[in-house]
Amino acid sequence: MLLGLAAPSILIIIAVIMIPLGWLFYLSLIGKGGEFSLVNYQKMIEYKSYARVYLTTFEVSFLTTLVCILIGYPLAYFLAQLPQRMAGIFMLTVLLPFWTSLLVRTYAWLVLLQKKGLLNEFAIQIGLWETPVKLVHNMTGTLIGMAHIMLPFLVLPLYGAMRRIEPDLMRAAANLGAKPVQVFWKVFFPMSLPGMVAGSLIVFVLCLGFYVTPAVLGGGRVVMVATQITAILENQFNWGAASALGVVLLIATLIILYLAGRLLKLDNILFGRN
């Protein structure tokens, strides 16, 4: 009965996810002449440039996740200490950019970071550095922009996990003789880990398929898989090669999630089992 009620959503999932995904697999196995072949995958092994694209993709995703953790953990911690209402107001400042267009935010960073941009002029004026520093059209710019866009995906689950830690646990630890630093590392931090892992995985996986920000802020120097796929489609109109790139990324992502799951007991974290 209840399964019957779920039927429409199952149909939608089949229609918009399963069928296109199957189509993607199918396309990746079609050669230029329309024949069935593995030529698309062969090319990916033959040309070193493909490997470099994947390496860049994972590097950018990993570094973005790292930057998000370094900024997001203290931020979430700060928010979790505030009274609920105050935290709500501060949380808005994290979420507000979330509601503006991705493109707008990315171009805003371009304006801020470019050679004659706000940041460079300000830094030179206060004497931080003397000649304009290249902050955009490279890895730095890409990381800044991506970390900014991804931050809420880390902060939200992390903040939720921190809020769920009972204050009495910290008191108990202090009562049992733990100094404030020990209370943090022995009780608070381990208990916030599930939230951090969940948030990090979301950020990492989202980064893998990111297109707009690396394309604009990377200035062609940071080529990720999504960028490469576009290039292949625009320049060669080669659906087979593009699909193969997507399939490999998908499989690599699944392998990473599987390994992370084995390592971190992910199903506990994502599905709330302890």
Binding site: E166, L169, A172, A173, N175, L176
Partner: protein
């Protein structure tokens, strides 16, 4: 048999804690002697938890002094106070096993792993959980969590133990069993214990002394017997046990009357004009129609308005005047006279003059 290696006295003087303009604690004085089991009893918002938290160091009072033995502790952070504490919701660390939870305070004190293991085992056997050291916290029942929290609180041999309504989450049967176990444990450890509860029966069962607290002040600090038999004021009389209170007037020769009924003589030494007679339901007894009032016995006459059977006892609500009801409690043996009682019957109630509790009525 005070053993200062096991227990420390607590001396509290003039402790005041304000939240905004509200006094959570209003210049409170309290002495808990070495090895004593003292219960802070009061309704919610009375300040009992605030006081406990001040002793543990979790809030900073505005003024006053808290000494453990001869050491002033008012400014000491919680981790330096060396007091064990059992929290209301147990506060067990969910990312550690039972044994790791109990070993936590030992690890912080850099106690070697061999001794630590030995003491954890000892603590586990004291709370009768010897086989559960490897369990995760979410695999425990409420009663088991309670015991683990207890073991963790005393394993590092604190000389003061604090408990914040530790049994409130347990069902009635388990709670009564744990009350007795806690008492036995206290006797065994000999540690000074401050126990917070809002359950008057629990306080009567467990305590050496009870400190009744209300609106941030102590109403009475006494043994359970003294609190029950000689409440200091209407609040204590009402909060502890069941009681009816009848207003009394004093005549010129110092005799106290409830309406026309002489209750007691010779109350001329105090200036109070108005007094209250506190009557516990189990102190009343039904008397025959023919029995007259005497030097020993006061007799009230009323009509039964309610009769309630409760298993081991039964009680009747008896209206003795337009404004006042008395309740009377009987044992329920099969031959008992209560079998004959019906709503609407007239009943004569006897009260021994030696059992009267008489307190001044506070001027309002």
């Amino acid at each position: 048999m005070i053993d200062s290696s096991k227990a420390l006295p607590i001396v509290i003087r003039g402790l005041t804690k304000k939240y905004g303009s509200l006094y959570a604690l209003d210049s409170v004085d309290l002495d808990v002697s070495s090895g004593e089991f003292l219960t802070l009893l009061g309704p919610s918002g009375s300040g009992k938890t605030t006081l406990l938290m001040a002793i543990a160091g979790f809030n900073r009072p505005d003024s006053g002094s808290i000494r453990f033995g001869d050491t002033e502790m008012i400014l000491a952070p919680p981790h330096r106070r060396e007091v064990g504490m059992v929290f209301q919701n147990y506060a067990l660390f969910p990312h550690m096993t039972v044994a790791e939870n109990i070993a936590f305070p030992l690890k912080l004190r850099r106690i070697g792993s061999k001794e630590s293991r030995q003491r954890v085992d000892e603590a586990l056997s004291t709370v009768q959980l010897s086989d559960l050291g490897g369990r995760r916290i979410d695999q425990l029942s409420g009663g088991q969590m309670q015991r683990v929290a207890l073991a963790r609180a005393f394993v590092f041999r604190p000389r003061i133990l604090l408990m914040d309504e530790p049994l409130s989450a347990l069902d009635k049967k388990l709670r009564e069993q744990m009350q007795i176990e806690l008492k036995q444990l206290h006797r065994k450890l000999g540690v000074t214990t401050v126990y917070v509860t809002h359950d008057q029966r629990e306080a009567l069962t467990m305590s050496d002394r009870i400190a009744v607290i209300n609106h941030g002040r102590f109403e009475q600090i006494e043994t359970p017997q003294a609190i029950y038999n000689a409440p200091a004021n209407p609040f204590v009389a009402d909060f502890i046990g069941e009681s009816a209170m009848l207003p009394m007037k004093r005549n010129s020769s110092g005799d106290l009357f409830y309406q026309d009924l002489l209750i007691a003589s010779d109350y001329s030494e105090l200036s109070d004009e108005e007094w209250l007679l506190v009557i516990r339901p189990e102190r009343l007894f039904a008397v025959q129609d023919s029995t007259p009032a005497s030097d020993q016995t006061i007799i009230f006459t009323g009509v039964i308005t309610e009769f309630v059977y409760q298993g081991e006892t039964a009680f009747a609500l008896v209206s003795i005047s337009d404004q006042h009801n008395l309740s009377i409690r009987f044992g329920t043996d099969s031959s008992g006279s209560q079998n004959l009682m019906r709503t609407g019957d007239t009943l004569r109630l006897g009260l021994k003059r030696s059992e009267t509790i008489i307190i001044p009525k506070p001027s309002t």
